[in-house]
Structure formats: C-alpha cells, structure tokens
C-alpha cells in the first residue's frame, strides 16, 4: 500500500486523483445548474418572441439602478472569492478567511438590495399571484414577464443564499486551518459554485432589466 494522506478517501489512489474527480464532479454539476437556469432563459426567450412589447414594458418597470448595483456587487464578490483561492494556494490563511467573509457579505448585500426591489414591486402591484394590479395595454402578457422574473430571481436568490452559507462555512474551516496550499479543494469548489451564480446573474441582468430602455 502506498502512502495515503489522511484527506484521501479510500476509493481513490492518491490526492491528485481525488482532486481531479472533485473538480470534474463540480464542473459537471455546474453544467446541470446551467441547464436548470437554461429552462427559465428558454421560457423567457420563447415568450418574449411572442410578446416583445409586453416584455419591454415589463422590463422598464424594473429598477435599473439597483439592478446595476447588484450586478456590480456580484462581480466584486466573484473577484474576492477568486482572490481567496489564490491566497490559500500561496499559503495564506488570514487574508483568505477575510476574503471569504467579504464574499459572503457581498452576497448578503445582493440579497438585501434585491429585497428592496421586491418590496417596491409589491407596492406597485407587480407581483403575479401575490399582488398584481396592472391594467395598462400590456398588462396581461406582462404578467408572463413578471412571472418569469420572479421565478428566475427567486431561484437565483436561493442559490445566492446557499452560496453565502457555504462561503461562511469555508471561512470558518479556513480559520480552523483545514486547508493547505496542497489541499484546499473544498474552497476551490465553493468558489466555482459562486462564480456560476455570478454568471447566471450576468445573463439575467440584461434580459430582465435592460430591455426596451432605448
């Protein structure tokens, strides 16, 4: 029997095989995530093709300033988590931990800002099912837009929430000293997940906030 590090599970031969498997597994998982959101994007596309005006009208009712801010926050968080991984790989620990905390904080900020949007939209009666009080020319098909807007942003918000918790756990484990330059796969995986959440938003933002502004 060859030497096996404590962190290598028994089905693997060595740490490198384990890391390879974890990374591949994570990326494969991300591909499924892309498809989850992909259905919503597809639904959006196919409905928008049929009601371009209603979708533009709906999009104009969203808050582009907050939306832009949210995007910037998520982009920043992507950067911080990438830096956290880098720091760990270079042997750091304190900085990595704080970078992870910062990432989680940015995620939470995102959620808060989005919460504000929801509240305003509720007041304006833009939430299908809960409170939808529109009657302009596009009111009926515009519901399709808002339905998709809510399903998509809520599903994304769920992912952000999971990400925030995950990142906090990683920060705690970093502090505890679980990770070394040669082994910090859990952080790498969490970071990948977080980046994907960011990528999804990168597409959601123009589709939901920027239509029909010109």
């Amino acid at each position: 029997m060859s030497y096996r590090a404590a962190s290598v599970q028994e089905q693997f031969d060595d740490a490198s095989q384990q890391r390879e498997a974890s990374m591949l597994g994570m990326w494969a998982f991300l591909a499924t995530e892309v498809l989850f959101f992909g259905v919503l994007i597809a639904a959006y596309t196919l409905c928008r093709v049929r009601f371009p005006e209603a979708f533009a009208a709906g999009s104009r009712r969203t808050d582009v300033v907050l939306g832009t801010l949210e995007t910037a926050v998520l982009l920043a968080s992507s950067c911080t988590v990438a830096l956290a991984v880098r720091d760990l790989q270079l042997g750091g620990r304190r900085a990595a931990m704080w970078l992870l905390v910062a990432t989680a904080a940015l995620g939470a900020t995102f959620l808060c800002i989005h919460g504000f949007e929801y509240v305003t939209e509720y007041r304006e009666g833009l939430i299908p099912i809960l409170h939808y009080a529109q009657d302009g020319p596009e009111a009926i098909p515009m519901q399709l837009f808002f339905f998709l807007y809510y399903v998509t942003t809520l599903f994304h918000g769920l992912h952000v929430t999971i990400g925030v918790v995950l990142l906090l756990v990683m920060a705690w484990r970093t502090r505890r000293g679980d990770f070394r330059p040669r082994y910090h796969t859990p952080v790498e995986l969490s970071a990948l997940y977080w980046h994907l959440v960011d990528i999804v938003w990168i597409f959601v933002f123009p589709l939901m906030y920027l239509v029909g502004r010109a």
């Binding site: 089905q11 390879e20 498997a21 992909g38 009926i140």
Partner: protein, 531 residues
C-alpha cells in the same frame, strides 16, 4: 489448508440492517436499488394488470373512468421513473461499473447512497399520491389540464418525480466522474467494455436532460398553486411550450432506458458467442451518437400538437437520422454471431429476444417519425405498442438477461438454468400476444388512454389481455426461482461463463474492495478468441 482461506465477500461484512442502510459500497447500493426497483415494477405491473382487465370488455365496467385514468397515469409514472430509468444503471450499473473498470468504488460513494435515498423519497411521494387518491393527467402532465383542470393530486406526483430526478442526475454525475478518473492502469477508453460505454452515454443524458424536466415540473407546480403561469393560455401563455420542455427531457429519457439495455446485450452476446464484438468502434460511436443526437428529435411527439409545419419537418428528419446508430447496432450484433461458438443459456435467449423486439419497436418508431403517417397513428394504440415493444420487449428483457448473466457474480449462486430458459420463452410469447394486437388496434384507429371503446375493437383487446396474463406469469417465475436460488442454488464459481472482463477476475461475490490486487489491463475487451 491455508490456501482455501477466502477473504470475506461483500455480503459477509456488515450484515445488519443498519449497516446496509448506511453502506457506501456500490455493490450493496446496487442491491438496495434492485430491491426497491423490483417492488415498483410489480406495483406498476399491478396497475397494468388492472388496465388490461378493464380493457377486456368494451364497456367501462370494472372501474370508473377517473380510476382508470389514474391507473394508467400511475402505471406510466412508476414504470418510467421508478422502474425503467433507474433499472439497469442503478442496479447492474452500480454493481458493475467500478468492477469493470477495476476501481474500488465509484468516485463519490456517499453521493451514491444519497441518490438511493432520493429515489426512495421520490417513491414515497408517489405512493402517497396514489394512496391519497392518485393523479389523472397521464405520465406526460400536459398543460393546461394538469395546471388548471385536473382535481387530483398533481402536486404530489410532480414532487415525487422532481425528487427522483435528482437521484438520476446525481447517479449520472457520479458515473461520469467515475469513468473519467477511476479507470485502472491500462484501461484506456477504447478498452472499455461496451456496457461501460453505455453507462457513460446514459449518464451524459441523465445529467443534461433531467434538469430540464425538474425545472419544468417546478413551473407546473407554481402555476397550479398560484393560478398564474407561462403555460396558461388565458394570459397569452402557450401550453405547447410545456410540451417542448417536457419532451426535451422525455425523448432523451427513452434513450436513458434503451442505452443500458444495449450495453447489457453486447456483453451477453459476446460471452455466449465467444467472439469479439463486431465493429467495436462503431458500437462506441453509435452509443455516443444516440446520446447526443437524441437531444434534437423531441418535436416528433408534437406533430399534431399545434407545432408549426416546418418545425415538424425538421424534427422528422432528425428522428430518421437518430435511427441510423440503432441500425448499426442491430447489424453488428447479428454479425457478431457469424462464425461464433454459440450457447443458448437464458441470458442469451433474453438478448436475442431483445434484438428482435427492439428491432420491431424501433422500425415502428420510423412509422411515427414519418409526419404524414404519424397524423393518423399518434395517440393511438400503435404508439402504445411501439413503446412497449422497445421498453418491455427490449429494455425489460435486457434487464432480466443482465440480472441472470451477472446473478452468480452478485449473489454467488447459480440460478436454475432450465427454469430460466422456460421463463424467458414464455415471456417472449406472452409479450408478443399482449402487444402485437395493439399495433393492429392502433392501425384500426383505437385511441390510447381510453377507458371504454367501440365494440369493434373487442377481439384484439381480449387477445391483448390474455397475453398480459401470460406475461404476468412469466414475470412471477423469475421472482420465484431467483429467490429460491439464493438459498438452494449451486455455489457459483468466479467465472461460470468463462467470460472476459475484469468483473469475472475477482471472486463471486467480490470482496468489499472489489479486488484483492488492483488489476491491470493489457488488451481490449472481449478477448474470447485468445485462449
């Protein structure tokens, strides 16, 4: 003598219920799946029995229309998601994949166990749905019936399928990573047995199709609960959109059901013919071709659904193209027989049955893929016959063939050969008697999902119901003698069929870590002609 001392096999370590329910051993998880799947098969089969009983007479006299509708829905949901999709991958696949590539386990054993629990969780929802009164939408959940009009337990059923979908995604993910990273030394891609290739293909499909189903089911549930949604025509939404999403998953799903069966058949045929598979590379490419191109043909379920005429033309040609790799496989299996040294044990009978019935089912698929013919045939019993030929005649036969083939390896016991042959032959005849009349019914115009039907269809329906009783008997036989063999069957040697493949090089049943010495591979699979 010390030489006789055997390492304990996987069945001898951890025999308590608790250790089974917390096991990470892929072999035990495979068996857990097998138990659950057998249960669901007979549950779905019982529903089928009731369906055939009702249809034995033209009048709807056995049960009410509503109950009948719930029966075929339950039958379809259970058979598709709780039996056939997990059948080969989650049982034989789980058991054999690591063995065949020379690994100690799958890449993520805990995830593997989680998949099983998700499967059970989804199953509980589905059974709960049945117990609370059932669901009557058909397994296809078409909107707006499922969202606005049905007053049955759609949400429960949808949640059940949603959960089992995750089980399928995780299994697929696990297998893909396993095949990529866990192959033993010397096991290059083109030395993989075709069963492994088919598991790889099927995992791809599971991973890339199932999320679409899951999300679509979420949209259904939200729409049903909230009364608003994108499939609702009252808002300008489009019910046909639902069908696009549903079939984007469900057509690839039919290849989830058939690819593993093809893998099993390739293993069984080569071992029984004692010959290398004919055209190994073409077999591999056709698996991948089916897996990938299978994603582009879904619209053939929607030729008369209000899909545009042009889209139907596109989906029609793609459907014909997807039949080419299947044709390659059929011809290659046949060519493998040439100059072989053929024995006809039960697995081989099942395998040959598979090839024949799959071919008939597949060729009738071509009738349906031809737009002009589908107009008449769609939603008739012709379609029902088509898919039962492939799924029951094809996939279930292959599953049973595989179970018999690897039974000695899995349990360490031999099954009774003559009983097994007898059951396989009864099954073949029972099957044809059940489903061949349905082709004729469909061609005569009898629509599917009919609780009552005009008297002129009676004779063929009676034949079909008679066949179903024979078929039910044929399915009960293996249940009986396989259980018997667990206690009384002869002890199985390590390699009873003198077959090739790493799984036969370890003991029967294998030790917990699969191999006492990590195997190394020096040549391609199916080296039957070399001594």
């Amino acid at each position: 003598m010390p030489g006789n001392e055997q390492a304990p096999n996987y069945l001898q370590v951890g025999t308590t219920l608790r250790s089974w329910l917390t096991t990470h051993d892929h072999k035990k998880i495979g068996i857990l799946y097998a138990l659950a799947i057998t249960f669901f098969f007979f549950l779905g089969g019982a529903a089928a029995a009731l369906i055939r009983l009702e249809l034995a007479t033209p009048a709807g006299d056995l049960m009410t229309a509503k109950t009948y509708n719930k029966m075929f829905t339950f039958h379809g949901v259970v058979m598709v998601w709780f039996f056939l999709i997990p059948s080969i991958p989650a049982t034989l696949g789980n058991f054999l994949l690591p063995l065949m590539i020379g690994a100690r386990d799958v890449a993520f054993p805990r995830l593997n166990l989680l998949s099983w629990y998700l499967y059970i969780g989804g199953g509980l929802f589905t059974v709960a749905c049945l117990l609370m009164g059932g669901v009557d939408t058909g397994w296809t959940f078409y909107t707006p019936f499922s969202t606005m009009f049905s007053n049955s337990h759609v949400i429960l059923a949808v949640v059940g399928v949603f959960i089992v979908g995750f089980s399928s995604i995780l299994t697929g993910l696990n297998f893909i990573v396993t095949v990529h990273t866990m192959r033993t030394r010397g096991m290059t891609w083109f030395r993989l047995p075709l069963f492994v290739w088919s598991m790889y293909g099927v995992s791809l499909v599971m991973m890339l199709a199932t999320p679409v189903l899951a999300m679509t089911l979420v949209l259904i549930a939200v729409e049903r609960l909230g009364g608003v949604g994108i499939f609702d025509p009252a808002l300008g939404g489009d019910p046909v959109l639902f069908q696009h999403f549903f079939w984007f998953y469900s057509h690839p799903a039919v290849y989830i059901m058939i690819l593993p069966a093809m893998g099993v058949v390739s293993e069984v045929i080569t071992a029984s013919v004692r010959r290398r598979i004919f055209g190994y590379r073409f077999m591999v490419y056709s698996i991948l071709g089916i897996a990938v191109v299978g994603f582009t043909v879904w619209g053939h379920h929607m030729f008369v659904a209000g899909q545009s005429m042009y889209a139907s033309i596109v989906f029609s040609i793609l459907s014909f193209i997807i039949a080419v790799p299947s044709a390659i496989k059929v011809f290659n299996w046949t060519a493998t027989l040439y100059k072989g040294d053929i024995t006809f044990r039960a697995p081989m009978i099942y395998a040959l049955g598979f090839v024949g019935l799959f071919m008939v089912g597949g060729l009738t698929g071509l009738f349906l893929a031809a737009t002009a013919l589908d107009v008449n045939l769609t939603d008739t019993y012709f379609v029902v016959a088509h898919f039962h030929y492939i799924m029951v005649g094809g996939a279930v036969m292959a599953y049973l063939g595989g179970v018999h083939f690897w039974w000695p390896k899995i349990t360490g016991r031999m099954y009774p050969e003559s009983w097994a042959r007898f059951a396989a032959i009864v099954m073949f005849f029972g099957f044809n008697l059940t489903f061949f009349p349905q082709f004729l019914l469909g061609a005569e115009g009898m629509p599917r999902r009919y609780h009552e039907y005009p008297a002129k269809y009676e004779l063929l329906n009676v034949l079909s119901s008679a066949g179903a009783s024979l078929l039910a008997l044929a399915y009960l036989l293996p249940l009986g003698y396989l259980l018997w063999s667990l206690a009384r069957g002869g002890k199985a040697p390590d390699n009873p069929w003198d077959a090739r493949g790493l799984e036969w090089e370890t003991s029967s049943p294998p030790p917990p870590g699969n191999f006492l010495v990590q195997p190394e591979v020096e040549g391609g699979p199916y080296a039957y002609e070399e001594p």
